[in-house]
């Protein structure tokens, strides 16, 4: 890979993150307006930009004896992991930022490592409510990672490959969402958990006054929210590639199909925030271990049968 290609890939992923995160914020406001029965206002489009401007204007608060370096690192690390996860997802048959054979493994690793920045963001302020949020995410991550990885593993079986490019190519004729029907719901559950979004927002819930972000303000808060939105974008893109046939589809160019499918999943994920109440931590853990992991194992077995 040439230096130009490297820079092009980095710029492409960066642009996708920025545009995607902005779309998440716009979609969130639009869906909220629909649910609240309000007219669509111009602030739906401009609102996220204004909030970013406010973040740039507002000072960054601090707490009593925080771990300042770890606290500052948390949003950057979370954003970086989202970018790494997105980089391995192909936009089309030929357009891919990081063309590696084990893309699925890297994506899974980026998701698994997300527990570190979330814990850092809760632990570093030296404050009780963010700390509880961090504790919650540890329990949450231990619960969703197994269904998540098993759901991802299931799509690699019919493709006989860990390359996401090969996984998309293996869906010619029949998408994984049809032949592995449990995979996409399991993956979306994990995606919402990973970004602790909507009903899965245990670490940053209102009962903790914002949880891991309760003590943050200004640019730090903007970066943290952007990281969550970027993680949703990465997960939606992977969901489109792994379960909805990626760039495959009639008529439109491959990249257009990929964008459309990603947006559909993104709207589903974003919209969950406005229709489903936050689940209880205990029930979340019980359901994950007692129901979702067995379902995910069943999904892998179905994948093995499909691959025969």
């Amino acid at each position: 890979m040439t230096a130009t290609a490297w820079w092009g890939a980095i710029a492409g992923v960066g642009l996708a993150i920025i545009v995607g995160a902005y779309l998440v914020a716009v979609a969130d406001r639009a869906i909220a307006s629909v649910v609240a029965g309000e007219p669509m206002r111009s602030s739906i489009l401009a609102g996220p930009a204004r909030s970013v401007a406010l973040g740039l204007v507002q000072s960054r608060t601090t707490t009593e004896r925080p771990d300042g370096a770890a606290w500052a690192l948390a949003p950057a690390l979370y954003l970086g992991l989202a970018a790494a996860a997105l980089a391995v997802v192909p936009l089309s048959e030929t357009l891919l930022a990081a063309d590696i054979e084990n893309g699925l493994v890297l994506f899974g690793a980026a998701q698994a490592l997300a527990v570190i920045p979330v814990f850092l963001n809760g632990w570093s302020p030296n404050s009780i409510l963010p700390l509880i949020g961090a504790f919650r995410f540890i329990a949450q991550a231990l619960s969703y990672e197994m269904p998540n990885l098993l759901a991802l593993l299931s799509v690699s079986v019919p493709a006989s490959s860990l390359s996401i490019h090969d996984i998309v190519a293996s869906q010619h004729g029949l998408w994984n969402v049809v032949r592995l029907p449990l995979g996409l719901p399991l993956f979306l559950f994990a995606a919402a958990s990973l970004a602790f979004w909507g009903p899965m927002n245990l670490p940053d819930g209102a009962d903790l006054a914002g949880g891991t972000q309760a003590e943050t303000s200004g640019l730090h808060l903007v970066a943290w929210r952007a990281g969550r939105a970027a993680m949703l974008v990465a997960a939606a893109a992977m969901g489109a590639a792994a379960f909805l046939g990626g760039w495959l589809g009639p008529g439109l160019p491959g990249w257009a199909w990929m964008v459309v499918k990603t947006l559909v999943l993104l709207v589903l994920l974003v919209g969950s925030r406005h229709v489903a109440a936050r689940v209880r931590a205990e029930r979340y853990v019980v359901i994950s271990w007692a129901v979702l992991i067995p379902l995910a194992l069943l999904n892998v077995m179905i994948a093995a049968v499909v691959a025969l």
């Binding site: 649910v35 602030s43 000072s59 245990l202 109440a277």
Partner: protein, 435 residues
């Protein structure tokens, strides 16, 4: 473009954002939360850190002056305060001369937006800290690590208790416990309520209500002015039934909006808050909302079986809490005028958080139906009127402790929010002395 010009452009854009607000609820804040939450130009936050405007609603007893100042000092710069008096005070409170004063009938939304834009654009100076930035206690310098404890745990090095070992209260997993005070301006606790909570991870290991009883309670509920209709005016003279029932519906809807926000359903909370501000005159206007909430399986799933209060305890709480537990006790059942309207108490069976929100929602719809049927009917002078939220039992602190120890913090907050004990009505706060 010069740095100054770009900064000016940035602040101009930021000034057009929704104003991030933290609401500190004092006494007399009946519809403060709903009025702020329903506004599309404001964003009510759960933490003061990222708020640009602190809205202090109602009267703040002197006992809560220091906690309020601490909330103020936690906010990021630039910041401003809007003091929204719920009791008609017009003079700037002592120590808060920098605040914008807004009367109970003024346009709070416009005042907050103006304060926000002024402070963001620099037309108004960001407020300075009110309390000295010092540790609550010095470093102990005692013990092997100087923290005042033994080993690597225990002690209160800067007046903040460190984590220490605690007994197992739930599942055999012994965790370190840490003590924290939550309140009196925690967004999802009743106004003025202070809890001293020992956490073991996410579990409430121990809990004590710490809000000090103060002399001088005048008997008025904290949630003026609507409670005035039901609690104070009714015994003295005849009151229009329609006014009572619309006030009841309003109070239930405001409560529901806060609960929906607690469960993360912000858009629905905004919808309900809007309806609370302008209560529909026809019950059919709440049909779609009722159907949507009843069908929200996730809300039922999150609240079912949590915070169960039944039997004697439920009877002591009275009102919707008792009726949600299947106790059909309602003063309206003994009222001649309500008998002519065909009133029958609504009850649920389980007495959990789920039945409490269903109870209040059903009673809101029923109240609108009664108001529509009542026409010009009035109560008889001296008649006992069922309040929308009766005062909690005098020992509600002990009841809360018995109910919540061993639960997860999320369930504990949701249970307290569903009970919504009126701290002032329980005699825990004074109303006379204000900041």
């Amino acid at each position: 473009m010069t740095a100054r010009a770009s900064a000016g452009w940035l602040t101009a854009v930021a000034a057009r954002a929704e104003a991030p607000v933290f609401l500190a609820r004092g006494i007399g804040t009946a519809d403060a939360d709903a009025r702020l939450r329903a506004s599309p130009r404001l964003r009510v936050l759960d933490s003061p850190r990222a708020a640009a405007v602190l809205v202090v609603a109602g009267c703040v007893p002197t006992e809560l002056a220091e906690p309020l100042a601490r909330v103020h000092d936690q906010m990021a710069h630039p910041r401003a305060t809007v003091w929204w008096s719920g009791a008609g005070d017009s003079a700037p409170p002592v120590g808060w001369s920098h605040a914008t004063i807004v009367g109970p009938r003024d346009d709070i939304e416009a005042a907050v937006v103006a304060a926000y834009r002024d402070v963001i654009t620099g037309a108004r100076c960001s407020e300075q800290t009110l309390l000295p930035d010092v540790d609550p206690a010095p470093w102990r310098g005692v013990g092997p690590y100087g923290h005042g404890g033994t080993g690597m745990t225990g002690g209160i090095p800067y007046g903040r208790p460190m984590a220490g070992r605690g007994d197992d209260r739930r599942d055999g997993l012994t965790l370190d416990v840490v003590l924290a005070r939550i309140g009196p301006f925690f967004a999802h606790l009743p106004e003025g309520l202070v809890l001293e909570v020992t956490f073991a991870g996410d579990v409430v290991h121990d809990l004590t209500v710490k809000t000090p009883p103060v002399a001088g309670v005048d008997g008025l509920g904290a949630r003026l002015p609507d409670d005035a209709v039901t609690a104070t005016m009714a015994p003295d003279r005849a009151v229009p039934v329609a006014a009572i029932e619309l006030a009841r519906a309003r109070q239930h809807l405001r409560w529901l909006a806060r609960l929906l926000h607690l469960y993360g359903l912000d858009a629905l909370a905004r919808l309900v808050a809007t309806k609370a501000l302008s209560v529909p005159r026809e019950p059919q206007e709440l049909t779609a909302l009722t159907r949507r909430l009843e069908r929200c399986w996730a809300l039922g799933w999150a609240t079912r079986g949590v915070g169960v209060i039944d039997g004697v305890s439920a009877a002591l709480w009275g009102g919707p809490v008792a009726r949600a537990a299947g106790i059909p006790r309602d003063a309206r059942a003994n009222s001649p005028v309500y008998a002519t309207l065909g009133f029958q108490p609504i009850v649920h069976a389980n007495g959990d958080n789920c039945d409490r929100w269903r109870q209040r929602l059903a009673e809101a719809v029923q109240a609108i139906e009664l108001a529509a049927r009542a026409g010009t009917a009035v109560t008889e002078p001296g008649e006992t009127i069922e309040p929308a939220a009766p005062p909690p039992p005098a020992d509600f602190g002990d009841q809360l402790a018995a109910l919540l120890i061993g639960t997860e913090w999320g369930d504990a907050v949701a249970t307290i929010a569903s009970l919504d004990p009126d701290v002032n009505a329980a005699g825990y706060l004074s109303k006379g002395a204000t900041v």
